[in-house]
């Protein structure tokens, strides 16, 4: 097996709601190889999305670590009390996570999460814009636009560039979200229930698209509760009692 791209070691996450403590992740371990398509299944509320958010550097675990290219994504546990604390910034972990989100990771959400004020082109282009300073952007603008148009063309959205999210169907919105996740050519694509909000036909089309991406070498970590969707992956893991188990 080749050197892993992403490694999760003993990831733990507990939600505190008043006096109730809900331990959703009780030490999850995971290794994702380059080009691999991993599906994580589990019941609703089992912590799938939480795990995906931690893997994608959107959330911070209370314990455990995530390594990307053998580099720790989070500060050592003792310094992790505040997620984006001055310590994080000082030690560079917050900056590191921002860097990963900008350049290495791409995220697709169940509810698309597109900015309603922007049209399709702008929503996707924004993901390129975020990673560029004004100076860099002035030099890369044309190339970024060309890349964006290419990705949107690949997603079959070339005719919908000026449309707002509200003017698109669910499937189209999800394809825009995938285009946004892919526009900066991420090393890993995280997909959180990508078909969860789509009808069967749109879901099938989308999975065909994701499979196509995998076929082109894209590493994908996907969360789903749908066994049919999970069946498309190379490997299926099940999250039960806060721990991952091979299916």
């Amino acid at each position: 097996m080749s050197s892993p791209l992403l490694v999760a070691q003993g990831v733990q996450k507990t939600y505190v709601m008043g006096r109730v403590q809900l331990r959703v992740l009780r030490g999850c371990d995971l290794r994702v190889a380059p080009g691999e398509f991993v599906a994580i299944m589990g019941k609703s509320g089992s912590g799938k999305s939480t795990l995906l958010h931690i893997l994608g550097a959107l959330d911070v675990p209370q314990a455990g670590q995530v390594l990307f290219h053998d580099e720790p994504v989070f500060a050592p546990p003792g310094r992790r009390r505040f997620a984006t604390s001055a310590l994080d910034v000082l030690y560079g972990y917050e900056r590191r996570r921002i860097h990963y989100r900008r350049f290495a990771f791409g995220f697709v959400f169940q509810f698309y999460h597109l900015l309603p004020e922007l049209n399709v082109l702008e929503n996707v282009l924004l993901a390129r814009m975020v990673g560029a300073s004004t100076f860099v952007w002035s030099r890369q603008r044309a190339r970024a636009r060309a890349d964006t148009l290419a990705v949107l063309g690949h997603m079959g959205l070339a005719e919908r560039l000026r449309h707002r999210p509200a003017e698109l169907s669910g499937g189209e919105r999800q394809r825009v979200a995938i285009a946004r996740a892919l526009v900066h050519k991420p090393q890993i694509l995280f997909a959180d229930e990508p078909t969860g909000n789509l009808d069967a036909v749109a879901g099938a089309e989308l999975m065909s698209l994701i499979k196509g991406l995998h076929a082109e070498g894209q590493t994908i970590v996907m969360v789903t509760h749908d066994p049919t969707v999970a069946g498309q992956a190379d490997r299926i893991l099940r999250l039960e009692d806060g721990q991952l188990r091979q299916v």
Partner: protein
Amino acid sequence: MYKLFLTLRYLRKRRIAYFAIAAVLLCTAMVLIVMSVMGGFLDQLKFKARGLLGDIIVDNKSYSGFPLYEEFIADIAQWPEIQVATPVLYSFGLLRFQDTAQTHTVRVVGIRLEEVYEVNAFKHGLYYEKYYPGTTTLAEQQQPVIGVDLNAEPIELKNSKGEVLGRGARPLLPPPYEAALQKSWAAGVRDDETPPTEWTEICRDAGIPIIVGEHEVDPSGPPVLTGDSWPGLIIGRDIIAKRLADGTYKRYSMYPRGCVVTLTMIPTTGGGSVDTPIKQPFRYTDDSRTGIYEIDSQHVYCDFALLQKLLHMDAAERVDPESGAVVGTVPARCSQIQIKIHETVGGRPVNVKALAQRLQEHYLSYATSPRFKLSIGDTQLVEYVEAMTWEESQSHIIAPVEKERQLVTMLFAIISLVAAVLVLCILYMIVLQKTRDIGIIKAIGGSSGGVALIFISYGAAVGIVGSTLGTVLGYYFVRYINPIQDWLTRVNPAWQVWDRSVYSFDEIPHTVRGHDMVAVIVAAIAASTLGSLLAAWRAGAMQPVEALRHE
């Protein structure tokens, strides 16, 4: 880059931001209008006060006046900084128009007219002098009576439609007045204060200079100078004419130029005791408008030497009360010396305050100078003399207005903080509404600082747009404040804010100063940016996942 992009997009798409912009706009305009009008009011007050007094005032604030003014004026005339100096006398009197029961308590000012013309802007406020140059004099004079030119061809009288109504004799003033009128007419001086009448229209059509003001008329004979010769008296305009709401003055035919008025005054001795009241007839030669109501409604001006004599303040022999022998001279006294100075000497600007100090020291040295043999009383009058800059002498008027301006500006600036609070509320609301968007931006790589900066830029942009529009609105409002107020008055007279019959100035100040505009814009942008800080901090501190889960 994305920060600017999203800031501009939110500014355009979030209509709620228009309310914040409108609030900043109105507050900016409001503060600018207040600063401009109050500042202009103060500037006009200073300008008028300076025009009235000259650059430096020497005064002892005593009704008895002070001596040695001629010697002082002769001394300082040699100083390179001094342009011209003139003595002035102040007294009080009762003014009565002949053949009427109309009386006024007035402040009588004795001036040397030609010198005053040089020292300050008094000449520019004279009414008849404008249309009949050179005819305003404080010397003895008779009343001019309009007659007709019996030798000239009669004028064809036409109405406004051009229909000939008949023929009439050409009106004429006595020669010196007629010559002066012809001179000003030729120079293009026209009456822009009196509404035109049918008669003035006829004269204008016939190319005849229009006789301005009120005069005695005798249409049966030639123009004449009539009556006893009496000294001339210039009367404050608000005494002799009624100020109308549009700022012009209505003159009364019962007070024609040259009519007799009587002044009753109470002289005082150098020791301060009151003498027997004296009564002196004058002829109304002109009226003066300084633009300060308190002066124009109370002051009358007569010849300095005459008033000095009437008040027993001229030089006299000092007589020993016991022996009756002449033992010396009582020096002549004046109440004030007004001095006009050169702005620069030898290319260097004159320090007015330092010069006033030097002038005071020079005058006070007279008290102990062997040149003069002053009595104890005169020495006391000398010792109380002060030399002040015009600003110092008017500080009792200027300082309260200055404080008032600062206070009103500060009050409006505090009210304008409402705009900053509104920006805070609106941005905070936008942050709450856009919580999920903030999560999205962070999920695709937006940093906490970057997200915070979006909302700080948003606040600044609201400030920039609002203050720019507000400055434009304020500028044009101030610039056209007088037409706006005239229009409001036309629509409803009760809406008249600036009553020209009440305020000293004809117009509401309508100049916007550049530094005021810059200050208001900078303050508005700073307030809006400050107002955005809390919202920006909240937006920046949000965790991506928490923000994405926000319902």
